[in-house]
């Protein structure tokens, strides 16, 4: 198994949520394994991963909806490992909205406050403020069934908002919405974060949401954090092959081959030799099997390719026009290879085209350990 890799940026000052050596098992199945996470004050952290990677489980643990098997959770410096959800200073937004169907929007917003025995005038004030922030004053008297999906999720966010909490937890809040609404609400959540400056932890499997919203992304897999870093760093310098393949759409090209050292290190694969002079190796390169990863958008085609450190002619197999740009499928060194070109360019299958890229922008991984070289 890949060791837990953390390359923390220095933007973290005080930590708002701190997860230390957290373990969680359901019977024999270990879902979270010795997990550590420090989330800074006012930070927007996205937990990103495929389904079953433990990201929602981790969020539920932080919320107190699941009891940890081992380890500790601190919120605002207070050990809340054994606290009830309501005492943790968190608000949570769920994928299915989870609004109380028999209550009006107002009832939904004030339910938590009534439970906490907040005075009536204070409740009214906070509900009015949340309604103002989320622009849902006209909806207050309606029942959830009379609202659209986007409005429902806004109410769900409002429910977390009125509680005046330190930390917001989002569990795939936009997954049930259609694409257009998702984009709208995504911006709204970002605006909310800029206005409130609360700490937010956001679970999603959608990399676009992760890239656009996050201050830092934690890419998770099999109950472990694979990489915790800023979106740009994760995109540019993925720590292992899994992260490289998971982030980016269309996904990164992988070429299997060997590293040759010497005065000029090279990547050799079936008639292809790529100069690695500009590549920033983590350690001195050694000879061995490796995987070369280059993103489709870092490949240029046509005349411009000649100015790149590496260029070669390939035969086009499939053309996928997507409007703004076009994805072209070809073969390089006998392996599948995709590159992205402008939507205006005219390519057709069977045609030969010159492509080029700069190996310095690529990522190299060890074949056996899958770690970045």
């Amino acid at each position: 198994m890949t060791p837990q890799t953390l390359s923390t940026t220095s933007s973290v000052t005080t930590s708002s949520v701190s997860v230390r050596n957290l373990d969680l098992s359901f019977g024999e199945v270990k879902v979270l394994k010795d997990l550590n996470l420090e989330i800074g004050e006012g930070e927007f952290l996205v937990l990103l991963g495929a389904s079953g990677c433990g990201k929602s489980t981790l969020l539920n643990c932080i919320a107190g909806l699941l009891d940890a098997t081992g380890g500790q959770i601190f919120i605002k410096g207070k050990n809340v490992t054994w606290e009830e959800p309501k005492d943790r200073g968190i608000g949570m937004v769920f994928q299915s909205y989870a609004l109380y169907p028999q209550m009006t929007v107002e009832g939904n917003l004030s339910f938590g406050l009534k439970n906490a025995k907040v005075p009536k005038d204070e409740i009214a004030k906070r509900v009015a403020r949340a309604a103002e922030i989320l622009q849902m004053e006209p909806l207050l008297k309606r029942k959830p069934a009379q609202l659209s999906g986007g409005q429902r999720q806004r109410v769900a966010i409002g429910r977390a908002l009125v509680r005046d909490v330190d930390v917001f937890l989002f569990d795939e809040p936009l997954s049930n919405l259609d694409a257009k609404l998702r984009a709208e609400l995504r911006v709204e959540i970002k605006r909310l974060h800029q206005r409130l400056k609360n700490t937010m932890i956001y679970v999603t499997h959608d990399q676009v949401e992760a890239m656009t919203l996050a201050d830092r992304i934690a890419v998770m897999r099999n109950g472990l954090v694979q990489q915790l870093d800023s979106p740009q760093a994760i995109y540019k310098r993925p720590v292992n092959r899994y992260v490289a393949g998971f982030i980016g759409s269309p996904s990164i090209n992988f070429l299997e081959g060997n590293i040759k050292t010497g005065a000029k290190p090279m990547f050799i694969a079936d008639g292809l030799s790529l100069p690695l002079a500009g590549y920033a190796f983590a350690a001195t390169p050694v000879v061995g099997k490796a995987v070369f990863g280059i993103r489709p958008e870092h490949v240029v085609a046509g005349v411009a390719a000649t100015s790149q450190p590496f260029s070669q002619s390939v035969e086009i197999e499939i053309v996928e026009p997507m409007g703004s740009d076009t994805l072209v499928w070809a073969r390089l060194a006998g392996q599948e290879f995709r590159f992205r070109v402008d939507g205006q360019s005219e390519f057709s299958p069977g045609q030969n085209v010159l492509i080029g890229f700069d190996p310095a922008r690529a990522s190299l991984f060890d074949t056996a350990s899958e770690l970045r070289l």
Partner: protein, 302 residues
């Protein structure tokens, strides 16, 4: 050529496809339905007409014919003066006994079972599945096996022969099926709703009373119907665990109908039977729609 196409649009099929009212399929379906309904309604018809006839008219035989002279005397007699043993106050005594048994039994069994179902689906604890399985096994043990042990238990508790003993028995025997009903219903409630309520600071009872109960009207109606009809129609427990003064209506009805002395008053018997059956009948009519909806809702998830 062009003319042909124009004709086609005028003459050819357009709009809803016509259906024949007297197709072979319709005759078969409706014929079967009519025969079956007649078969089931006929006894009720005989009961109603007989209860409205005087004894001389009944002796003439014509069981199916409507009454020549309508009289409500048998109904009055069945309710207030028919004799069972030494008591000659008709079914009225049994009716009020049944009401006194019914209301606490229904209320108690449903309150306990709904909380059971809620706890077993939302607050799973170590051994909750085992507990549920044991409860379910209880539903499959024949009543006859338990009758005498329960007599002893009630006697030891000092409840034997009283209404509270019978209420307890009804509550216990209703528990497996009602718990199953509520558990399945609450299991179909989205888990995130429960989580949201916990984050909002509601506890075990808060979630139950403020979130779950208002959402579960249909399943409560189903439970009420099952219990009202079941307990009202109960004969066995009533006759075993109470004494003659406290017999429920069903037992009293049996005693009126099966009295050995004197003339068999068919009209009074019929009236008494209808009166006894009226309560479950009314419950079904009032809540039929909710009943179907609730059964469907509870059946979705297991």
């Amino acid at each position: 050529m062009a003319e042909n196409i124009a004709d086609e649009t005028k003459v050819g099929p357009s709009g809803a496809k016509p259906r024949r009212a007297f197709s072979r399929r319709n005759i078969l379906i409706y014929g079967t339905l009519i025969i079956v309904s007649l078969y089931y309604l006929l006894p009720l018809w005989v009961m109603v007409v007989t209860s409205l006839k005087g004894m001389p008219e009944i002796r003439l035989g014509n069981v199916f014919s409507p009454p020549v002279e309508i009289t409500f005397e048998p109904w009055v007699k069945a309710w207030s003066t028919a004799c069972t043993g030494l008591n000659c106050d008709g079914l009225s005594r049994g009716f009020w006994n049944s009401v006194r048994i019914l209301i606490p039994s229904v209320a108690l069994s449903i309150s306990v079972a709904s909380v059971n179902g809620y706890a077993l689906s939302m607050w799973k604890f170590k051994g909750s599945e085992v507990f549920f399985t044991i409860l379910m096994i209880g539903a499959f043990i024949p009543y006859q096996v338990m009758i005498y042990p329960i007599v002893i238990l009630l006697r030891e508790m000092g409840l034997y022969g009283g209404l509270s003993g019978l209420v307890l028995v009804h509550t216990i025997f209703g528990m497996p099926i009602l718990t199953l009903l509520f558990r399945n219903y609450f299991a179909s409630v989205p888990e995130e709703l429960f989580k949201a309520a916990r984050v909002d600071g509601a506890g075990f009872w808060g979630i139950f009373f403020k979130i779950m109960m208002p959402m579960s009207l249909p399943i409560f109606v189903v439970a009420i119907i099952l219990q009202v009809t079941g307990i009202w129609n109960d004969f066995l427990f009533g006759v075993i665990y109470t004494k003659p003064d406290l017999y429920p209506m069903t037992v009293q009805l049996n005693n009126i109908v099966n009295s050995v002395q004197g003339v068999k008053e068919y009209n009074v018997n019929m009236a008494a039977t209808i009166i006894t059956g009226l309560v479950p009948l009314i419950v079904y009519f009032i809540s039929g729609k909710l009943f179907v909806r609730g059964i469907a809702a509870g059946a979705v998830k297991g």
